[in-house]
Symmetry: D3
Subunit: 318 residues, 6 copies
């Protein structure tokens, strides 16, 4: 698959999921670099930087894409020889792929340590990383019971309870509105994240923030399981995460809606849970308090003002 093919498939969402698109981009950069054998240092670097820009911009709201590209293309800017640049980039691409494949496993292992035998866990939506924590704990022999929500309007909860039931975990299925009702029975909440901002706010499936609020009210710990590439670097520059609104017919059949002239369906996909309702974020790099998001972005994702600013006008002046 060529670089352009990969870009196209990501754009068309044939390749989906934060981890998969990041790994696809890494693989594409690796293959592309390996295919270049006859250029001088400057030409190699120019070409790879253009390839990086192409991939990073294919789906601007998928934060894992620029995160991956940034980590992998770092050596281009600092290498002193062609060999340094090429080997550096290719090594990082391979390491990224390996690391990313293990990320969910690691998160599961770290997260499972926060679950105790006999715990009742509540989860919302269908997060691979969050479920990994629960399933890992279950495999370690802990007796665990789960409350899983329906997750209107797309009912992702149906997938969640299938995963849990298949793993042999005792699961209660509830409507989203019942989260606070059962919160007093719950020992710990674990959800995933779609993105995490510089101040530790968690963007996740609509309804997450309500559950976090109800958990706070009842002194129940609220954990978020998220790979580091879910952290959104541009929020350092003040960029807001846009909350997508999806089609009305996910919520209300058109046949009904058309009979109701004064009714509009509002269907936001995500909401924002403020950091004060989040006790820990479990990444493959360890468990951190949400306020450390900035450090993750700087240390693990290797962003700084310089590369963040590349396409922001006010950075040009320096």
């Amino acid at each position: 698959m060529t670089l352009e093919e990969t870009a196209t498939r990501i754009k068309r969402m044939e390749i989906r999921g934060a981890g998969r698109i990041a790994r696809a981009a890494a693989k594409a950069l690796l293959d592309y670099s390996e295919s270049i054998n006859d250029l001088d240092q400057k030409s190699y670097i120019d070409r790879m930087l253009r390839a990086s820009d192409l991939l990073a911009g294919v789906r601007p709201t998928a934060v894992s894409l620029p995160n991956a590209v940034n980590i992998i293309s770092k050596p281009l800017l600092k290498a002193e020889t062609l060999q340094d640049a090429k080997e550096g980039l290719e090594d990082r691409a391979r390491a990224f792929i390996t690391h990313s494949e293990h990320a969910v496993t690691r998160i599961g292992e770290i997260g499972a340590r926060h679950i105790r035998d006999g715990d009742v866990v509540m989860t919302h939506c269908n997060s691979e990383a969050a479920l990994q924590c629960i399933v890992t704990a279950h495999h370690q022999g802990m007796d665990i019971e789960v409350y899983a929500t329906e997750v209107r309007p797309r009912n992702q909860g149906h997938i969640t309870i299938k995963t849990l039931s298949d793993a042999g975990i005792r699961t209660n299925f509830i409507v989203d509105s019942a989260a606070r009702y059962f919160m007093k029975e719950v020992d710990i909440c674990i959800t995933g994240a779609d993105a995490i901002t510089v101040n530790g706010a968690v963007i996740n499936k609509i309804g997450t923030s309500q559950i976090a609020l109800a958990a706070k009210e009842a002194r129940v710990n609220f954990l978020v399981a998220a790979e580091t590439y879910k952290f959104a670097p541009r929020t350092i520059l003040g960029e807001r995460i846009l909350i997508e609104e999806r089609p009305a017919d996910e919520v209300l059949p058109d046949a009904i809606l058309t009979t109701l002239p004064h009714v509009t369906v509002r269907n936001p996909t995500f909401d924002i849970t403020p950091s004060e309702y989040v006790d820990l974020i479990i990444t493959e790099q360890g468990a951190i308090p949400p306020e450390m998001a900035y450090t993750i972005i700087k240390e693990h994702l290797q962003w700084d003002m310089d590369n963040l600013c590349t396409d922001y006008p006010y950075c040009e002046e320096e």
Copy 2:
């Protein structure tokens, strides 16, 4: 319709709704009393008390039933003559019916005064009294916008948005999980109640307490619209309101559930909103703080320890 027929129809839920069953019981007592013309005082009272007991016990969890019967049968215990007893009971039965029929209208008028021109109102489930407040304000010429929830699993929100759209009120329809997301746009929340306890806790459709919590978090006033016969006298004696759990297939089709051996559906119908999240309860007797529930029960519903205790063993000793 005879007394027994009325009792049967209430029991079979052919007569439903807090207001309707209360009025049916009042009408049955009135007709029954009018049909008795040849008894002496003691026999009349005995017979009417038996009729009262019969009706009050038909659906023990429907709090409006004993509330109505108690108010209407009061004169039986204090009357000095047959005429006093009979006229007293019949007058009260007629007054109760009239009063009850106007209750929702009055609540609408009182509640509308808490809405200001331009307000955005959030409501949950499908409460006649709560909607009456909104519609009355709209009819008074106020520009009002509503957020109405879907109300899983039975989707009562569909009825709510039809009522609102038919009235010409601009309405946004959202999933239950999106209540906190939109709360910052909301000026006031108004819901109904299925029952209200002596300490002002509101039993209402599952999800109500989550919305009330999110309203509190955002300093949005939360109002409850409820006829006085929703107040539950026996909670003075410590009686807990039982939260009914309804069938699993309301939430998840049996076809799916049977494939998931470790999954149980939990489907509670109501939750409990503590009084600290409720700013006002709007009754047809006026707007009161939730802490005044005790006074409503004593003054308007005319319960006291003596009649409350009738069938509690520890009361016998006095």
Copy 3:
């Protein structure tokens, strides 16, 4: 002074202050009744009811006026003879005047019991009743220190610190913005009220609710000193207390404002402190929790749905 003269002087605000206008109305009704000697019962009652209506409506937002008139004119509705009606009304008018004159003294005595030797008290605006609590405690020999705010835009704080200094009480004068800064030094807050709603919300000088919030944050008790005629009966019917906005030039000189085409001055006189920030309301009838406002309105001010409804259309039907 004739009834009309009294009405006119109240209207023109030549007679001001909740207590003074209530007593003026009582005196006017008393004099008017005493001047009527030749009418039959019905004519007397009709004339007095018209007089009552006239006075009660002179300044509709001054809640003490209808409160006084309602208490005094009660006997008109229940009296069986002319003598009963006339004596009843006149007795009540005299009692009201006496009672009202002593109300602030009583409030001071009750409030002073909530102050301990060595206490630091914060007050806002210039409330006769609140200052009476402080001064009474001082006269009882307690060592008291006060923080008094400036109270922009009218600087009523200047009057307050004069009263306190004249009484020999150590006083700190601060800008309104400094209330939270000094709150950690404060043992108790005491303010007055302009009106109190049925659910115990306190309408008082703008800035009061900020101080109450800062007191709550620091676990400092917040007391309100208010005569019972400050309680607003119509809030039972859902009536909102209107918050008056006063002229811009109180806040910003016209000479400046006219140079700022995009600037509007907003100058609300009062704000609303929710009952959850108020620990006690000290009335001349005793100290009560704010949630008991309803009881004060019913028992002490003698309002009920019947007289409250007189001029509300939906009451006609009964």
Copy 4:
């Protein structure tokens, strides 16, 4: 036992406990009244009022004493004949004794309805009424587990766990500092009260307010079990409940203290739990929200401003 003997024994604390001293006073008034057979109405009333004053003032801080005397001596002030006065007083004295003897039983029955099968209950100190709720629930067949605190410095917890163990109830004994640690395991807290103020604040054993705060933090219901004669009428007049400080050697042996010249032992017996941390107060008259304390004082204890004011100077003027 004569009236004077009863007064002396109460004074010397030979008769102790809120209920016992109230009943002793009632018995003393009953016997004294029965012994008077030859006086006219006025003399009888004068003598009984003096007797009432004598008993009510024997231990001014024991609120149950004036509460009992007030209820019993009410008929003296309103009776129209000697017989009315005497029979009225004697009937009330007998009723009070009977009622008081049953109060704890009733509280247990009402409180038990707030406990569910399988509940974990936390209690503090050693309250007969609170334990009665737990034991009654246990006797009804519920499976209950209790966390009971040590209650320094007097270790009243030792008595509590003996009562619970003797009743066969599974009990965990913890130091006072461990209350928050175990709060997440707890379903409901129940304590007693030494006194309850007009705004629903609960004066109880030192440490109670910390537990209530920790319960609030974890959304655990906090109930107070208290006979109505624990409500303190004079708090309506602003009277503060004095918090007694007991001897240092309860906390630290004198032998140690004398070696520490800069150390003072502070040993307050009670603390004050604000009403916002109390969900319900369970009295023998029913379960009420704490804000209804005023109503209990007025309706059940039959105090009003007139009899409250008897010995307050500012009341004389009326």
Copy 5:
């Protein structure tokens, strides 16, 4: 202007404002270094260190001064040759000046991204950085409305509303006490800072913390716009920021104060907003959560224990 002249003008406050005094110090160090051409390495470094100490200590409470001097003089300690030291220092001085001049512009650009079209913004006092965020958003075409406070006692709000009106931004001018009253209309609060401590507490104009508290109560985001040189390094060592109290006559004319023997004016200039009420701090280095203050001090201001400790006795031992 010589080094001494610059020092004197800063001392006399002829050069004022955090940014201006920092740039003046940088310019003075640059000029001074450029004027030294004939010294050996050690003598150059000694002389520059003395110059640095002189400038850093001119106004000890202006935190931007030692911050600037520390960044610029860093190369003196690590340089291996005279040329390294001299060029290093001069490069840093020039970079600091350039950077500082652009800081407010950058903050405006980052901050504007947190404002949405149609937002209502509240600000307090007169912060160049905070206003830049608002004005930048306005220039980007957003429709913005502002609530600006009066800012007693010096009325800096008058300057703020002039800036906003001149920019054509719709502005409401309110007294400081009205902040909570209007908070429900507000979407976002933005203020500046005079200093920020290691744990993210914001020292700003008196009244700021009250507004932040009211914003928290209403779930309104509270942002602080501050250049990185506002962060106070010595707070790492536990140093408290002193809150200056200014003259009484700013608050109350002497003519009045002298007539009030028991009155003292307390006039603190700043208050402290705890980090839990601050959602984000917008610096020219990006938007960070307040808890990251420590990182800013270490990474951007380049302080560590060694240079922090220079003049602290307990550091000598190492």
Copy 6:
């Protein structure tokens, strides 16, 4: 003392206290290294790594032990020559010992800056570091008053008040339950820590979290004094700090317990104070917000994923 002897004495708790065992381990490694003079690089490193492992694992829950060993043995992994390795390790061992000996002194100096003249300080248990802050402030001439708790069940408060009294500091001794009662008198709380997790939660003597909660409720600052080696690196991997439960007879004599068949004593030694109740942690490296725990662990304790993972199976794969 040989390496093995040191290990044994630490294991037997003959060497106790976080600082002392860390220094003993450092000294043992230093002596052991100095005794090795004839090995090649690889053999030296192997032997020292085995020695490190031995010491680090002697008491697995004493977090200061692996922290010390990790810092000291770092050079083994990176040294290029035998001399580098040996000198590096020995230098670090000596530096660690010196640093550790001064740590409490430094904490005292930093902490004292957070205490103001006239402050009332509350402390719990018996923390050398916390007391050092108080005593240092006292020695600097500040007038300080302390509330110290009894600290059941082991009464460590007796040691605390002796230290304070010997230092001449005015001290109030209270039972643990009285902390909230006196909190309104308190200006600042300072306690120690046994361990601090990656998200800033403080593990300290049972009861600490209750006091922190009561401090939060009353807006009283809560500070923790702790050497950096109290921070627990493995919490980054999700490891939970185990809360030890100690013998029942510390709380209740066996003689009593054996008579109570249904009673179990629960005696946890520590509880967990969440970071939101902690304002600052004072380390010898400066005062930091609790959210910076991660940075301390990484920068000062020099842990990273690689050395953290050594004995975790999921790390092997890389």
